[in-house]
Each structure stands twice: as structure tokens, then as C-alpha cells.
């Protein structure tokens, strides 16, 4: 049987051959560029968001602002755009039967697809982070960053903290990938899976503002999009990071398990 690496590489090549892939990546690049250009041509700064006040003092403040902004729907959308499509598109093209009658087991194809969807989310996040850093430094300079605790860290320390923040941000993003992947397997419909995953992400955020449900907030997947902020406190607060790890696993593992079982056992009747 072909190695997982080979199957995974082909899943990535398929992504690279599709326009929708570049839609998500394009947005990930465009958003920080637009933000930086807006800072150049406009006066003032976003006051009501953490780090918003400092975007003119240090370029390092721009990635955190975009992480906060992106957690509402932008990153869930980018992640779902590919994860929700990666199985359903095969249903749509009728190609599931084509690839499942070769010499590669269904389980290996599923794992390759899950890895490819996760890779895509990671690349989009890294791309946005890198572009935001470059654009931010170009506009506001590589200057020390004021943390959420009001202390100031050196520019190089700030850079390191932002890198860790992106890694932690990846955890809830993988949760979204898992949900979109599950919907992709179950619905056989790309649009339903993408929109469904996005809706779930939005509804989870809505839950927190409903009266009486506030106690649920620490255990919601979307809340974990704020966990990285623990790195930008002095001293570093690891509690939200640790919680994010197990809460995200609590969402992702069952979704992936059900998606896997369904994919491996399902009747392939389309095409």
C-alpha cells in the first residue's frame, strides 16, 4: 500500500489545483495588508480591542489585533472552506469511487485528508501571522510591545510570544477543522458542511451572551480562540492555554472519530 506521505502529498496537490484553496489563502494575506494600509492612510486606531491602542507604537501589536478580529468568523470560515469541502467535493465530483477502488485503504485516505485540511488551516494562519508582522513592522516599526498586564516586553521577546500565540490559536482552529470534516463526511455536500461549521462556530459564541449560560463559556470551543492571550501577560498565564488544549480535544476527537468511522464504513453510491 502507498505510504501515508504519498497520499497526503497528493491531497495537498489536489488543493493546490483548486481555486477555492487560494480564496482562503488570499483572504489571509489580504486582511493584514488592508489593515496596514488603512493605518497608513487613516488617523486614529481601533480603541475597543485589546492591543488596538498600540498598533501605531509597535508593529507587533497588529497580529494580536487580527487574531482577535479573525476569531469571530474569518478563521473559522477559512478553515471550514477547505475542511468542509475535502470529502464532500469527492462526493460531488463522483471521484470517491475512483480513489477507493485503488490500492489505498479508506482509513489512510481519511487520515491524509484530515492532515491536508489541518495543514491548510495552519498555512493560512501562519501566512496571516507573517504578513501581519511584516506589514505591521513596516508601518509601525519593530518596537517593544505593551502586554495585557501593562508591562512592556522587548521587540524580540514580543515576536517570540506572538509565535507561541499563533500555535495556541491553532488548537481551536483544528477544532473547527474537525467539525467541518465531520459535516463534510456526513452531509456529502460541500456548501452545507462549510456553512454548517461556520454556523456552529457563530452559535457557540452566541451561547455566551445568553442569560444563564455564561458558566459554559470556559468550555466552549470558540472561547479557546482567546487562550493565546495568556502569553501576553506578565507573568505568562498558562491556565487558559492548558484548558484550551483539553477543551479543543474534547470537541475535535469525537468529531474526527465519528467522521472516520462513517467514512470507513459508508456505502459509496454516488458518481
Amino acid at each position: 500500500m502507498p505510504r501515508l506521505r504519498t497520499v497526503y502529498a497528493w491531497e495537498l496537490r489536489k488543493l493546490l489545483a483548486q481555486k477555492r484553496t487560494f480564496l482562503g489563502l488570499g483572504i489571509a494575506v489580504l486582511v493584514p495588508v488592508v489593515f496596514a494600509v488603512a493605518l497608513l492612510v487613516q488617523q486614529g486606531q481601533p480603541e475597543d480591542v485589546a492591543f488596538g491602542r498600540y498598533v501605531r507604537q509597535s508593529g507587533l501589536a497588529i497580529p494580536p489585533v487580527l487574531l482577535i478580529f479573525g476569531s469571530i468568523w474569518l478563521f473559522p470560515l477559512i478553515a471550514a472552506l477547505v475542511a468542509g469541502d475535502i470529502v464532500a467535493a469527492e462526493d460531488n465530483n463522483g471521484t470517491l469511487k475512483t480513489i477507493l477502488t485503488r490500492s489505498t485503504d479508506r482509513s489512510r485516505i481519511f487520515v491524509a485528508k484530515a492532515l491536508a485540511a489541518s495543514t491548510y488551516a495552519a498555512v493560512a494562519l501562519a501566512l496571516m501571522g507573517a504578513v501581519a508582522l511584516v506589514a505591521g513592522v513596516a508601518v509601525s516599526g519593530f518596537n517593544p510591545l505593551v502586554t495585557l498586564s501593562g508591562t512592556t516586553v522587548s521587540a524580540s521577546k514580543g515576536l517570540e510570544l506572538i509565535a507561541f500565540s499563533l500555535l495556541v490559536y491553532m488548537m481551536p482552529l483544528l477544532g473547527i477543522v474537525a467539525i467541518a470534516l465531520l459535516l463534510s463526511v456526513l452531509t456529502h455536500n460541500s456548501a452545507a458542511a462549510v456553512v454548517g461549521a461556520l454556523m456552529i462556530s457563530l452559535i457557540l459564541q452566541l451561547v455566551t451572551i445568553l442569560p444563564g449560560l455564561g458558566a459554559l463559556q470556559p468550555y466552549l470551543l470558540t472561547t479557546q480562540f482567546n487562550a493565546w492571550q495568556g502569553f501576553l501577560r506578565t507573568p505568562i498565564d498558562y491556565a487558559p492555554v492548558v484548558r484550551a488544549a483539553w477543551v479543543c480535544a474534547l470537541y475535535a476527537v469525537p468529531c474526527v472519530a465519528v467522521a472516520f468511522t462513517s467514512f470507513v464504513r459508508r456505502d459509496v453510491t454516488g458518481g
Binding site: P2, L100, R102, V268, T269, G271
Partner: protein, 328 residues
């Protein structure tokens, strides 16, 4: 690439597939021996594709088992498809990649040297010139050819083809049939589903005829042909007198007049052994009604096919499932 204990390429027993209340396949037994070109013949909706999907492990049988070279795709997954290739319904590819790129992807999923066979496979189906174009722009016939190329990458010992000539133009059909004949002569076992009797008659040595998910005939094509029988057609200078002669002649039966049509004059039809014909012609001449045409009319297999698939619903035991007395 050894067979598990020389097991037959296809060995299916009691295959059933139900979708809710609908029974698509109602207990199919199927054995395809090495070297067969096996026709799986039935009208649309008879459950042919469903059986192929079960054989390839794409869907789970509600009951029964399917084994390819002794391996069950449900238990062994992709390993059961070793040496097996084919497609169900129209072959499908990634429209946003070129034909060649699609084959490269599938070859990667095959491993085992499949990538080295791409050029040859494209050449065999005459798609070399179009290999760089996106599949999205291919015609139905080109996709069909690419589907065959994709199957050939696996260097199959067993080829499963679902209505391979569907949607091809006459030249494409001819090429497809020539290819199947060639692969068979090179030792590939072929299972071919079809709703076209002439196709099966031309290519296959064995045939199963299915209707509503059940096999109503299974045997070699020669036996089916014998079963078809035939009749004779007679025109004479005096058909009234000839009819009288026929009725009195030994070994002649089922005499009937056939009214003329715009394209054919009126004639007589009857059934008889070839041995009775010589005596009959002498009798006709003696009676003053010499024949101007006396010719055998073979019933086509198509007639048998229609009889088997369009009659009153088949009653269990009404038609022998195996009409072939001689083991192949």
C-alpha cells in the same frame, strides 16, 4: 501477487442489497473463472451496478459475501483489490486536473509500478494527444477512455467494466470491444455489465442475465444460443399449396403464414430440423410449389434476452438459474 489457493477471480454467494424497502439485489450467486469474459446482462435498474459496487467493496452487502481471488473487500479493504481494476457507472475524475495528472494521482494510490504504465495506458486508449487537457473539458467518450486507462494502470488480472460502451460513438464502441477482446486474449479475466445483448454476444463466453436483482439465466453463451432455437422462412410459387405440403411433411411443425409487408413479400414460417428440409424441398417441387426462397432464421440472443427479462415476473424455479449442463 499469488492467488489465495487458486481461488476464482470472482466468487459471490447470496449477495443481497436492500435500501430501506427497496431490494436492489435479491440473492446473487456469481462465479467468474480465470480467463472468462463474463457478461452480466440485464435491463437498466436490474441491479447490475449495485453488484459491481459490492464486488469492489464500495458498498456493504445486506447479506452474502463477495470474494475476489479469495479475498473479501469488506474484510481486507484495498488489499482485496490487488490485481483488480475497473469502474462502476461512468468513470469520474478531478475536472480541475489534466487527464495525465489524474492518472498520476491514481498511480500514486496504486503504488506497485503503476506510474510507469501511464504512457502505455494513454497510448492504448488513444488519449496521448489530450493528456495535458483538463478533464473538465473532456467529452463523455474521452472520460470513458481515460477510465479504461486508469484501470490498465493496475495491470489487472481481473477487469470489471460497467457498461463500457455507453456513450461512445460507433468507432469508440468498436475500439472498446477490440480492447476487451485483446485484454482477454492476453489472459485478463473480464466481467462486463451491459444492457446490450449484441455486445455480450460478441465479447463474452459466459453470461448471467438478471432482472429485478435476480439471475434468471446463467451459463455459457453457446447454450443460450441453442436455447434460442430458430425457424425457417419459405416462399414458393404457390403458398396455398405449399402450406398444405408443410402440414403433411414429417418433422415440420408450427406452420404459419406471414403476411407481406412493405419491404418483404408474404411468406410461410415453420420449425424443422435441418434433416427434414431436403425431403421438404423435393415434396414442394412434386406438389407443384417449388421454393423461390427457403432460408433458416436464427432467433437472436436478443429475443431470448427479451423473453427472459420481459415475461411475467420470474417465479422461483420457473426458469432454471443454471441452464448450462456442461461445466465450463
Amino acid at each position: 501477487m499469488t492467488d489465495a489457493s487458486g481461488a476464482p477471480p470472482i466468487h459471490a454467494r447470496g449477495l443481497v442489497k436492500e435500501y430501506g424497502d427497496v431490494t436492489a439485489v435479491a440473492g446473487v450467486d456469481l462465479t467468474v473463472e480465470a480467463g472468462d469474459v463474463y457478461g452480466y446482462l440485464g435491463p437498466n435498474g436490474a441491479g447490475k451496478t449495485t453488484v459491481l459496487r459490492m464486488l469492489l467493496g464500495l458498498i456493504r452487502p445486506t447479506a452474502g459475501t463477495a470474494r475476489l481471488f479469495g479475498r473479501d473487500p469488506l474484510l481486507e479493504g484495498a488489499r482485496a483489490l490487488q490485481g483488480v481494476a475497473g469502474f462502476v457507472e461512468a468513470p469520474r475524475f478531478y475536472p480541475y486536473m489534466s487527464g495525465r495528472r489524474n492518472l498520476e494521482l491514481l498511480a500514486a494510490l496504486d503504488g506497485d509500478g503503476a506510474a510507469g504504465r501511464i504512457d502505455e495506458a494513454l497510448d492504448i486508449v488513444e488519449m496521448t494527444a489530450r493528456q495535458g487537457h483538463k478533464v473538465g473539458g473532456y467529452s463523455h467518450g474521452m472520460r470513458q477512455r481515460l477510465g479504461v486507462a486508469a484501470a490498465l494502470l493496475r495491470d489487472p488480472r481481473l477487469l470489471l467494466l460497467d457498461e463500457p460502451a455507453t456513450g461512445l460513438d460507433p468507432a469508440g464502441m468498436r475500439d472498446m470491444r477490440a480492447l476487451v477482446a485483446r485484454l482477454s486474449s492476453e489472459g485478463t479475466t473480464v466481467l462486463l455489465s451491459s444492457h446490450l445483448m449484441p455486445e455480450v454476444e460478441e465479447l463474452c463466453n459466459r453470461v448471467a442475465i438478471v432482472r429485478t436483482g435476480r439471475i434468471v439465466y446463467e451459463g455459457d453463451v453457446e447454450s443460450l444460443r441453442a436455447r434460442a432455437g430458430g425457424h425457417w422462412r419459405l416462399r414458393t410459387t404457390d403458398d396455398v399449396r405449399a402450406q398444405q405440403v408443410l402440414r403433411e411433411q414429417r418433422g415440420v411443425s408450427a406452420v404459419a403464414g406471414v403476411p407481406g409487408t412493405a419491404s418483404a413479400p408474404s411468406s410461410l414460417r415453420f420449425e424443422a430440423d435441418e434433416a427434414a428440409i431436403a425431403a421438404l424441398s423435393i415434396a414442394l417441387v412434386d406438389a407443384g410449389a417449388p421454393p423461390v426462397e427457403l432460408s433458416p432464421v436464427r432467433a437472436t440472443l436478443e429475443d431470448v434476452f427479451f423473453t427472459l427479462t420481459e415475461d411475467e415476473p420470474a417465479v422461483d424455479g420457473g426458469l432454471p438459474a443454471t441452464a448450462d449442463p456442461v461445466p465450463a
